[in-house]
Amino acid sequence: MAPVVRAESLTKRFGKLTAVDNLSFALEPGTITGFLGPNGAGKTTTLRMLLGLAAPSAGQALIFERPYAQIERPALRIGAVLEATDFHPGRSGRNHLRTLSQAVGIPDSRVDEVLRTVELDSAARRRVKGYSLGMRQRLGLAAALLGDPELLVLDEPANGLDPEGVRWLRDFLRRFAGSGHTVLVSSHVLAEVAQTVDHVLIINRGKLVRESRLDELTATIGGAVIVRSPQAEQLADALRRAEIEAIAQDHRLLVHGTTTERVGEIAAAAGIVLHELRTEESSLEEVFLELTAERPE
């Protein structure tokens, strides 16, 4: 199947600064891809080139195998939100959507439908000025959904959302992708999207540093298990007998290449008391930080 999004040697220079440097990647249909990197890594610039708002200095950015500007009525296939605050404060949320829907012949009934989808129907006729940041985020998303697109491109959609908003967004994106649609979502915090995405594209200083499935990335880390026990030394011996290596840290053990279940079973069999047993959630984040760490040139 042809990729939904394809970047080929995509490059953007601003004077001497190379914001995006020879970036190549492809997104398959039906995937949710996290586009990750620290602030200033070139994520937004890449998205702007994909969406036809900025012209590449070299290479090309294609959606459905074409430059965005050459797609006929692109809003019917692609929904995108680049900034959460792109509204005229004096215009109502509903009228904001209508200024977009009318341009491509989408009926007002669809406007009301997406307003319900993002749960803004009761505030639809109020001016955006009075909206909270979360409401603005959802209004932006509503605009992206107007054309019932197959692809959603969202730039830092979780920025400024409260935890409830983040969960709402996560559920929404899962439902959206569940129906075979494709999502490209950028973030500077891996943890923010780790529960949502199945693929990751990690860039740093405009260059691709990692492109993989999220579970493969997790597997390379080995998903460290953290276990705390007053009998840490005995547990380390028991694990060693089961051919599992553990690294001791005070009363804690850091165990690679196993699961919490296995460690728990070994401890029980040896009659060892455990005070804590969990998977190290931050290890994924540590890999991300490692991949995107500032290195001297």
């Binding site: 702007r48 969406l51 036809g52 708002l53 900025a54 012209a55 965005y68 500007a69 797609i71 692109p74 809003a75 692609i78 995108a80 680049l82 900034e83 605050t85 792109d86 509204f87 005229h88 404060p89 004096g90 215009r91 109502s92 009228n95 904001h96 209508r98 200024t99 977009l100 009318q102 341009a103 491509v104 012949g105 932006g140 605009a143």
Partner: protein, 244 residues
């Protein structure tokens, strides 16, 4: 193009900016008609040229049409709506043309309002002061074409200027400085050049017979050239510039 123009008209109608501009225009035109009508001595009101200028006050709508055109473009950059606008309609020339059409229509609405107001209030004042209106059908025709057509073109000029400058405050200050300073200085100091500025071209189109003005037809042509040049330059820049 038609769909995009409808969307642009909705942008104009759906904020209070336009209402504010319209009310501002009504206030300014009323103020000038009333002041000129009540404070001028009778010699300053009688006679065809004086009356053309008196009733021509309605063409003050041109300034407000230009401001509306500027806002229609620069508001998109100021509030970031240019991003969703271009995501829905990536062809920038389509967006620009639609904005020109919407702004021209808004200009016509403003001009008709302004002119009706100026003529209605002006007639009442002249009548009450016992001044007979000396204008013939030809005068009224030019006055109407000059006010309505000129204001419509000012709407398009505003869009072109907005596309070139993009910064709202910069574009508005630039326009005001041009209208109230540069044009007046040029026409005052070097009328052979100054008669080609847009406002004087519009005055010529309205049939004013002030010294040095072009003929109405030449005035119309010059105003159209200004409009086209600004819009073409604006379109060329819009096609090339990245949107942040």
């Amino acid at each position: 193009m038609i769909a995009q123009s409808r969307a642009e008209l909705l942008k104009i109608r759906s904020t209070r900016t336009t209402l504010g501009l319209g009310l501002g225009m009504v206030a300014i035109i009323l103020l000038f008609v009333i002041l000129a009508g009540l404070l001028s001595d009778l010699n300053g009101l009688a006679g065809a040229e004086n009356e053309r200028q008196f009733f021509g006050t309605g063409s003050g709508s041109g300034l407000f049409a230009a401001l509306a055109g500027i806002m229609l473009v620069t508001g998109e950059y100021r509030f970031g709506t240019i991003r969703p606008t271009l995501l829905f309609t990536p062809r920038r020339s389509t967006v620009l043309n639609a904005k020109v059409i919407a702004s021209v229509l808004a200009g016509i609405a403003l001009a008709v309002t302004g002119e009706v107001l100026a003529v209605a209030v002006g007639e009442v004042i002249l009548h009450s002061r016992g001044v007979a209106v000396d204008l013939d059908r030809h005068d009224w025709t030019l006055l109407t074409i000059g006010t309505v057509g000129g204001t419509a073109l000012w709407g398009a000029i505003g869009v072109g200027l907005g596309m070139i400058v993009r910064n709202q405050v910069g574009a508005i200050i630039g326009l005001l400085a041009w209208l109230f300073l540069v044009e007046n200085l040029l026409f005052g100091l070097a009328p052979s050049v100054g008669r080609y500025v847009p406002s004087q071209a519009q005055n010529a189109l309205m049939g004013f017979t002030t010294d040095h003005l072009l003929s109405p037809a030449a005035g119309a042509a010059v105003l159209v050239v200004w409009t086209v040049v600004l819009c073409v330059v604006g379109a060329a820049l819009a096609a090339r510039r990245d949107v942040s």
